[in-house]
Symmetry: D2
Subunit: 351 residues, 4 copies
């Protein structure tokens, strides 16, 4: 590695994904944050809205201007809402920036499918094609060869796909039997005000929402279909849990053989060998969300029920880290040829 640091900019710095990018990038030895950008708060200090960054980030927020970003930065993270990224990213690519996009706008390869689930216009096909889906442990090689646009996976798909792919890939589970019961902490809904995130409504409450309608469903099905080599359709339920961070995906599938929990543990440990951020629990143990809080880990465990011949797979991540900012930086690391753990080796915060 040279002494020169890579210069990064963050668009959407004043969202939860944005401040989490800042938290990790400040400790990243190979990068320098040259611009924190916010369309709505340009000119002010980020610590006005996020006092936890007082004396930590002292440069004022910049506005969104592709030319100006290009003048300062090599790589830009777009932690912008779906719909906004779709319009902004082409401009950023045009001026020669590498882009890691945290919105969902470039994850679905088929524009029509995107429009059906996201309810607004898809980016151009050529861009959708160019974008590499940055599920690091699965698509690392593609990320390394990327020509400049990484589409960072959604939080639910990250937990879900890392939990399903090894078994599906090995042909151990029936692709038509997959049911996903996913649960998320409230930060997944972002900082925008809504009754759903209003404390009195969600504290001491467990809610289900968007059953079979969540926009992360086509993203999950796209990857599973690729792996299975045939179209896969899943049942997918999303729940809001009264906690700030954390996703648990509890997944059910019919087993195609008499595989034991120990078999699954071995299969997954082999599949993820050498990948630091996936940890497979031993047979009979399952992870809890707090065990990855604040970190880039994805922890996975299994239960096989010989009575019903089904496996239950439990996968947990911190939605703001492995489900957003952390994986985005992991993608940067892979793209730049660095160790994928660079700047990401923080242990979970416990308790």
């Amino acid at each position: 590695m040279s002494g020169e640091k890579v210069k990064v900019a963050i668009v959407g710095s004043t969202g939860y994904g944005g401040v989490e990018l800042i938290r990790f990038l400040l400790g990243h030895p190979e990068v320098e944050i040259v611009s924190v950008i916010s369309a709505s708060s340009a000119g002010s200090l980020i610590s006005e809205g996020f006092p936890h960054l007082t004396d930590i980030v002292v440069q004022p927020l910049d506005g969104v201007d592709a030319q100006e970003i290009a003048a300062k930065a090599d790589v830009v993270f777009t932690a912008t809402p779906s719909g906004v990224s779709g319009k902004l990213v082409p401009e950023l690519l045009q001026v020669g920036l590498k882009v890691i996009d945290l919105s969902g706008d470039f994850r679905i390869k088929d524009g029509a499918t995107y429009e059906e689930w996201y309810k607004h216009e898809a980016p151009e096909d050529q861009l959708l094609e160019q974008a590499v889906y940055g599920l690091c442990e699965i698509n690392g090689d593609e990320v390394a060869r990327s020509t400049g646009l990484i589409s960072n996976p959604g939080c639910y798909p990250t937990a879900t796909l890392l939990g399903l792919i090894p078994a599906l890939s090995a042909g151990w589970i029936d692709p038509h039997s997959i049911i996903i019961d996913a649960k998320s902490g409230v930060s997944g809904a972002g900082r925008g005000l809504s009754l759903t995130s209003h404390y009195g409504e969600i504290n001491e409450n467990l809610k289900v929402y968007k059953i079979n309608k969540h926009q992360h469903i086509p993203e999950v099905e796209q990857s599973l279909s690729q792996i299975a080599g045939e179209p896969v359709t899943v049942t997918f339920t999303t729940h809001l849990v009264p906690m700030t961070r954390g996703i648990m995906s509890t997944m059910y599938a019919g087993l195609k053989g008499d595989y034991t929990e120990t078999d699954l543990v071995e299969l997954y440990r082999q599949y993820y060998e050498g990948r630091s951020f996936v940890r497979i629990r031993e047979a009979g143990k399952w992870p809890a969300t707090k065990e990855v809080f604040g970190s880039n880990y994805c922890d996975i465990g299994f239960a096989v029920d010989p009575r019903t011949k089904r496996v239950t797979i439990v996968s947990v991540i911190d939605n703001v880290v492995k489900g957003a900012a952390g994986q985005a930086i992991q993608n940067l690391n892979i793209m730049m040829g660095w160790d994928e753990t660079t700047g990401l080796k923080l242990s979970p915060v416990y308790p």
Copy 2:
């Protein structure tokens, strides 16, 4: 109704189920609490351990003595742990008391199955046979004819069975396809100290536990098998959610026809017609646990996915009320021939 009140005693008054029985029974117009009983704290005031009852319950706690209870009371609620009830209830019946038991000891008709899941000796067969399984909306008639022993259902089974039985009974779902993803607030684990209920371990955390091993599974399967007329085996996952009260059972099953959400709403509304405590949400809406907090309601909603031909059924209760104390009192009401809502008409506490 005569002016004379029915005299009730509560064994296990110093557990969460016990104090909830007290909360509701104090407002019940037909009963009088004549004895609050605790094996461990006899002689002291319940408000020493539960200051919220200061000046409300002023009679000292009694010890556990069947003869003494029979001298004072007509009916006794046993909110005692599994294993304890199994030994105590026969004594209470012997002295002529009617018993509503909140432990799991009399729910499983087959002693061997009980011992397999509960890991201790089952009560005598004759008692298991005599005990009426008090799932009020399903077995109300049997409860009304009971000769003295009601076995109050478990919290998970109550939410789950009320959610599944109408569709299963109508033959609309495949009994071999049922997957139950259940979530509970932490009070379900009781007041006994354990690391699992330690604040630092469960706050801001979502845990899975006892996958396919929870002792409520045979209780669910027993009822489902009766309804289906064939043995039913389910996949059953239990989660701990960082909140005090509330159970949500998210259930998945294959549909045996092209039933819509509206069809299901109608089916369930007819099935539960005249039963005040089951509320069916309109098509496209699902209940949240807070919407039944502190009340005896069970709220149910549906999502049909035409792509996978599966239905997702969401059923919520307050585990301490409909899942324990409230349903126990509902059983008392039915057994005594009173309106089943007597003393139970409290609205949910919101927010």
Copy 3:
């Protein structure tokens, strides 16, 4: 009491105070809710916004029209925001309704002081004079003689004044030494969206706000000054605690004699003799907010530090009940000559 029920209407039914009024009034034996009113949602069902009231409140929401209310109701609760009540209440009084107002608009007798703290125009002096400050345990006689307008106290003042008045009234504490460190659950901020009540911002967080600037300060000082017979100025800090319900006021004052905790317990028990809703903890014990959750109790405890000659007084209430809806109904009871506990005897919900 006659067989005829008193007819009540609730303006502001779709706020947290409004739905709590509904919860208690539904179980009140002497009243009938004839109209639930909402300026913003007239014509719809309250259960659309508050599904916990599904099948419980089935009459549609009415609009705000004084004549129409008068045609139906005898008494009206105005659970409307400060500023709104000030304009609406005169109209309601004009058409002959009795009004119990839950806003702060009629609590401050001096219009100029009101305007200084509330930052909008005060109601007419004549109305401010007419309004009875309904701190039930202190001003019960005045409430009983009221000619039609009760101003229901604020949540912080209720906990604070009930905790201070007996000692101040007895001359045991120095009125110039009073410091109030108050803490509230988040529901106190209402259902209106704001970043302060956004789950991700307040969960696992403890915030201080409006130090010495809270609009409840002049209300506290007005009552303390009356009792002390001289102007009393207090230091008053307000905190937001990550819980939905509950207020704790921790109060500090210099003692004017060698009073012990036992002395204080006796003084307070005498002062509140015959008042069901104030419970004084024995010496060496202090209440917690959960011990009054969902109920109309105010619990108080003391600690005397002989080293500093100061007393610490701890007073807790449920802000939505004794701090709003519950006390409002208690005021109705007193005004109508009923037992003050009518319809309010619900035990705290625990756990």
Copy 4:
């Protein structure tokens, strides 16, 4: 700095303080953890009890043996309970180790005072004298000159003293007027099981405890008396807040002049100039606990009430970091002559 890392051991690794030491020390560039030690779990893996450390800490837990520790390590952190440290630390010093003790056993210089508040025997006077009270921003010079035993401050005293000392030192506040209303997250009570930390008892609850009796009081008074040059006695209330981490100390004192908030901001900024971990909020703003979550910061803000001539000082820390493990490492840094922020520059985790 040499290439050689300093070798550290942690006694009490399986407590909350111990795992937090591990989290930070793993990222510390100058140290190597050579031994994680637990009296109760020697021989097993720490990840058995703390699965979040799976694959992160893979060396088995060692037992407590001073000779063995000395054979491996240069410095040892004792995150052991009060009473245990008092006996263990002399042995560790004897074998030549430098010790940073996180218990309260060496904080109080006067043995009799220690015994009065801690209720067990004090360590020898000579050790109490030798121990340097490691409140880094105040006693940094003494820490740097330490001969081997640092007594790490308590969590409440850290927040409180950093908030009071500059004003007291400047003579701006009356030392006899100080009232401290302190609030802590539940992790402060450790991992030991107790009803107070039982989820159902503390969730959605705010409790006061040990009013004027907390063992941190003599620690606070000892330091304030030194600064004031006369004996200082404080009123000190401790509260438990339903959150895992965080301490807020809200402090009240009479002002000895017409100082404004701006004056105080300037005074404190000057006092803490060059110290990275104390951040002073601008006039009119106050910190919240979440703004320091997971980090070593102490944030302070002020409110002056000209009506009462009192100042309210708000000071927040993360009790597990600046109140325990973080400050312990900061002490190590200062003792070793490193920059005090080494290994501690993690930003707060938000949200």
